[in-house]
C-alpha cells in the first residue's frame, strides 16, 4: 500500500461528501505522492522540512460570476528528527497543530500525508449551487545560503562535497539551485475542483 502510494504520480483530489450530507458535511482532500519522490525525501532526510500549503475554497456558482463563500488554509509539514530517526508529519491550521504521527521511513510519512482529510470549512447553504476548489503549493523550507554551504562542507547534506559521491554532483546541485533562482523560484502547484453541486 505504502509503496504503491509512493509510486503514484503526485496529485491532489477533493471529494464531495455523500449527497444527503452536502449541506452539513465537509469534503475530503487527498494529496498523494507529494513527499516520497527521491529528491524530496532526500531533502527532508537532510533536515529541510517540506511544507505543503493547502487552500480550500467554497465557491458559490449561483450567479454568472462565482463568489468565494469561505476559505480554509492549512499546512502539512514533513520533517525528519535526526535524534529519534523518525519522520514527523504535522498538520497546522490557523489555530491548531496536530502531530499526525512519527514514522520510521518516508513511505510511512507519505502514507500519512496521503490520508484523506476533512478541512473544517463551512458547507454551503441548502439550495445554493456550489463547488469546492483546492490548491496545494509544495515548498521546501530554505535556509541561508551560507548555512547550506556550511552544511555541504560538513557533509550533512548529500551529495556532499567530501562524501563518497562525485564532488561534481554537489556542484551540479548548486548550479541547479542557481538556475532555479534565476528562473524565479521553484513552482510546484496542484489543484483540483469538485463537481458543481446543489445541496
Amino acid at each position: 500500500m505504502v509503496g504503491s502510494l509512493a509510486a503514484q504520480n503526485a496529485r491532489l483530489q477533493v471529494t464531495l461528501p455523500a449527497r444527503e450530507k452536502l449541506s452539513i458535511d465537509t469534503p475530503q482532500v487527498r494529496a498523494i505522492g507529494m513527499v516520497s519522490a527521491k529528491s524530496t525525501a532526500e531533502l527532508i532526510r537532510n533536515g529541510f522540512p517540506a511544507r505543503l500549503q493547502f487552500r480550500l475554497e467554497l465557491w458559490s456558482a449561483k450567479n454568472v460570476v462565482n463568489e468565494i463563500r469561505s476559505t480554509v488554509l492549512w499546512d502539512v509539514i514533513v520533517e525528519y528528527d535526526a535524534l529519534k530517526a523518525v519522520y514527523r508529519v504535522v498538520r497546522v491550521t490557523p489555530d491548531k497543530a496536530f502531530v499526525l504521527g512519527e514514522f520510521k521511513d518516508i513511505e510511512g510519512a507519505e502514507a500519512k500525508v496521503a490520508e484523506a482529510y476533512k478541512p473544517q470549512i463551512k458547507p454551503p447553504r441548502k439550495g445554493e449551487k456550489s463547488y469546492y476548489s483546492v490548491s496545494l503549493d509544495v515548498e521546501a523550507m530554505s535556509m541561508s545560503d551560507l548555512d547550506e554551504v556550511g552544511r555541504w562542507i560538513k557533509g550533512e547534506l548529500k551529495p556532499a562535497v567530501r562524501g563518497k559521491k562525485n564532488p561534481g554532483t554537489a556542484v551540479t546541485k548548486g548550479l541547479r539551485r542557481f538556475v532555479v533562482k534565476v528562473l524565479g523560484g521553484e513552482r510546484l502547484r496542484y489543484q483540483d475542483n469538485s463537481k458543481v453541486f446543489t445541496p
Partner: protein
Amino acid sequence: MPSVLIIDDEPNIRRMVGALLSAEGYDVRDAANGAEGIAAIADDEPDVALLDLMMPGQLDGIATLTKIREGWRELPVIMMSGRASLSDAVRATKLGAVNFLEKPLSPEAVLLALGSALELRRSRRVTRALREDLGLTGNMVGSSKAMQQVAEIIARVAPTDSRVLVGGESGTGKELVAAAIHEQSSRRDKPFVRVNCAAIPRDLVESEMFGHEKGSFTGATNTRVGRFELAHTGTLFLDEIGDLSIEAQAKLLRAIEAREIQRVGGNKTISVDVRVIAATNKDLSKAVTDGTFREDLYFRLNVIPIQLPPLRMRGDDVIQLIHHFSDLQYQRSSRSKLQWSEEALDLMNRHTWPGNVRELANIVERISIMNSGGVVKPSDVAAVIPTFVNDTKSTQIAADSDKSLSDTLDEVERNLINDALLKSDGSVAEAARKLQTDRPNLYRRMKRLGLSAILISISCLSALAVSAGDARATGLHIQPNSIDRQLIYINPIVGSISGTGDTIANTDTIANTDTIANTDTITSTDTIVTPDAVPDADTTSPSKQKQPTEPISDTIEHIQPLLSLVKTYSVHKFGFGLTSGRSFNRVEGLPVHFGPTYTYSTEPLLIRARAYGIVRSARSFKLQAPHGGYNNHIDAFIGPTRSVSIGARWFRVVSPIESWNMSEPENGISTFLLHRDFRDWYQKQGVTGTASWQLNKKALLTASYGLEKWSSIDARDPFTILRNSHPWRPNPIVDDGEFKITTFNTIIDTRNDERDPAVGWFINAGYEYGYSPHVTRTSFSNVISPDRVKYGRATADIRRYNRLSPRNQINGRLYLGGWLHGDELPLQRRFSIGGPGNLPGYDFRKAIGTNDGLTCGAVSFVAMGMPALCDRVMLAQLEFRRELASQPYDLLNNPAIRIRSAGFTVNPQGVLFLNAGQGWRLSQSTPYPSRLKADFGTGIDFGLLGIYAAKSITDWSEAPNIFVRVTRRF
C-alpha cells in the same frame, strides 16, 4: 526511635536480626513474606526495610522490592540473601535497593548498612522538604479546564523522553510544570537540574553548561562539572531559554543532538543522558522569525509544546490558589491561618494578576504578614493592591498600560468576552446572553478581536511555529508570479494532547463551533494535538502572515538576491548579497549588483541596509559611469506588525522610461535571447526618502521624496543569443535635468491568490509631482525654453479577476495614466499604449520599415530611437481563460526538470483576449491624430510561458502577430 521492618521467610533471621536491632534501639517489626511485608508497610511505613531476596511464593524478594518502589519511593530497602548471584545483586540495585547484605549476616554489616540507609532516608526527607519549600513538588493547584488539560499533557508526556518546551507569561509556573514532568517520569529519582539561562554571563555559558577542566582559562582553578553532567540520567530544565545567546544556542544544539559534551579545556567526550525541558516567556517562534533564535534548536526543543494560561484565564483557580498559599504560609510560620471573607476573595478574584501566580503568592504572603489574625477583609486586600480602590479589570488595564484608547478598549472588550465565554463553556450563544447582546453581534466582535469560541473554551496555550528563510527569488529574466509568497507563519495553538492512535476529544471542532462541530472526521486519528488559540493569534491563515512589505519607490526597489550569505550575531545579521539586478537590457547587458547587507531585528524594529555596487557587462567592466553604478538603501520597519516603514536610498542606476506594461524580467529575456529590447532607458542618480504604511493585509500606502538627476545614456552592445550581429535600436535622448520628485502611491490587493488569482481586485494608483529649475529639452519636446519644469501626473492600474465556473475565468484590466497639471511632461514621464517599441500583446504600434515607433508622434518625427510621446493613455484589456486540463501536469518525476525539493507543474489555460487603447497629445503645437486602436487574439498559457497570436481590429490590413510572454498578461 527509627523503625525497621524485616521481611524474611526464615524465622531465625527475623528473630536474630530483630533482637540485634531492638538492642540497638530500633523499633522492629517483621513479616514472613512479601505480601505481609507490603501490608505492614502500608499499615505504617518504616524508616528502613530489610528484605530477603529468596522467598517462596509469587512475591519473591525482587517482586516485593518492585512493589515497594512503586508505592513508597523514599523507603530505603536493604536486600539480604545467602544464595544470590552477582547478577541478582545488580538487578536489585538497579531496582532501587540501597545495599545488599550477604548471609550469614554480621551484626556490624547490618548496623552499618542500616545507619547508611537511615542517613539516606533523612537526606531524602530534607530534600523533599526543600523542594516543597521551593514549590517543586510537581503538584499543580487548580481545577480549571485549562489546568486540567495542562495536567493531562504532563501525564502523557512525562513517561516519554520527549523534549518539552514550556511557554507562558512570567509567574505562570513554568518551572512547576518542568518539575511535575520530572516527578512523573522514570527519571524522578535522578537529578532535576535547573539552569537559568538569563542569569549566566555570556562568557560563562559554555563552562556552566558543560563544565571546565582545571586551568582551561583564567580563573579555572578547579575542575568543574557542568549542568549537563550534573543532570546525567535526570532532567535538565533550561529556564528562560529565549535569553540564550546565538553562540550558546549553537553549543546547546550540538550537545542535544550528539548527546555528548566536552568540558571547556578538556579533550574527553562525555556521554550524557539528559531529558531537556526548556521554558520561556518569549515568543520563540517570533524569535526564530526575527533571527534571534535558531530555528533548528527551536525544532529540537519544541517537540511537545505546553503553553501555560495566564492566571486571569484560569477562572476559579484564583480562589484555590489563595487557599493553597494561605495554607503554605500557615505551615511555614507560627502565624494563625488566614480566614478570608467572601468580599476579600471577590476582590482578589477580580484582579487581573499581571504577575500571575507568583504575584498572587506574594500578595497572600504580604497579607499574611500584615494581618494580625482573624478574617481577611477587603480593606486588607486593598492595602496591598491599591488599584482595588477603583477596581475593575478595565481600569486596571488602563492604568497599567501605555496603550492607546482603542487598544485598551479592545483589551477590555476581549477580557469581557473571554470571561463570558469561559463561564459559558465556550458557547457563543450563552456568552451573548450573559453579555446582553445578540449572537451575530458577538460573532462580529469576536472576529474583529481575533477570538474564537474554542480559543476560549480550551485555554491551554501552546505554540508551534515554523519559519524559514525567504524563499523568494528573482532572476535575470523571468519574474515570479508572486514574489510575496511567504513561508513564515506563527500559529499559537492551545489545548489537550493524546497519544498516537487515540481519538482527540474536544479538539477537532473548528473555531466556529456554533456552525460546525464535526467530531467524526478523519482528522481525529493518530493525532497528538495541542489545539486552541490565543487572542492575538493570526487566525486567517497559517501561511499568509506577511513579512514587512518593501516600500515602493519607482524602479529603485528592493532587489532579492541570487546569492545571500548571512551570518547572524544575536539581533544582527551581516551578509553579502549578489543579484542580477532583475534585468538584461541594451544599456547594461547584465548588471551585477553586489555588496554587504545588514539586518537588525528586535521586537518593535527591523532595519535592513544594503550597499550594492553595480558592474555592467555590456562590453565593459569599468566601474565608473556609465559602466558602473550603485544602489544603496536602508529601511526601518516599525511597530508590532512592522506595518510602518521609513527608508532612504541613494543610487546611480539605469532605469526604464516605461515600466507599467512589461516586467523587467520579461523584457530581459527577450533582450538576451532575441535581441529585442522593448524599452528605452535613462540614467537616474540621486537620493530618495520613502515612508510606507501597510494598513492591513490588503492595502499599502507609500509616499516618497527624492532629489534626482536624470540624464540620457547610450545604448551599448550587449551579447545576445540570437541575432547578435544585428544593430541595436538606439536609446533616445531624453530631457536631462535635476528634479525634485514627490510621489504618493496606493496598492489595494484583495485577490484570493497572488500567484493565480481567480477573484478579487488589484489596484495600483499613484500621483507624481516633479519640479526642475533647469531641463535640457530634446527636439521631441515642444518647449525649448524656458527650461524650468513643474508637472503633475497620475497613473492607475485597476485589475479585476472573476471566476465563472471551476475552470473558466474572465478578467479585466484598465490602465489610465497621464498629465494632470503644470508644464509639459519631460520625456522620461511620457506614456505609450504599446511601449516605445513593438511590444507584443499591446500591438498598437507597428514597425514601419526600420522605424519602430509611432506613439503620439507626428509621422514626420518617426525615427530610430524615438521615445513614447503620449501625455495621456488609456488601455483596457479583457481576457477569458479556461483551464484545459482538470489537473496540472506534474513534472515531479522528471529528473531533468526537478530542482531541489520541487519541480514545476504546468496548468495550461486557453486564453481569448481583447485589447483596446488610445493615446493623446495635449499640446496644440504638435497635434496627434488620436484614434482608438484595438486587437484581439488567442493563446495558451502554460504558466511558465504563454504563446499567443493577435490580430488588429482597427487596422485589418496588418498581418497577425505571434508572440510569447513569460508572465501572465496581467
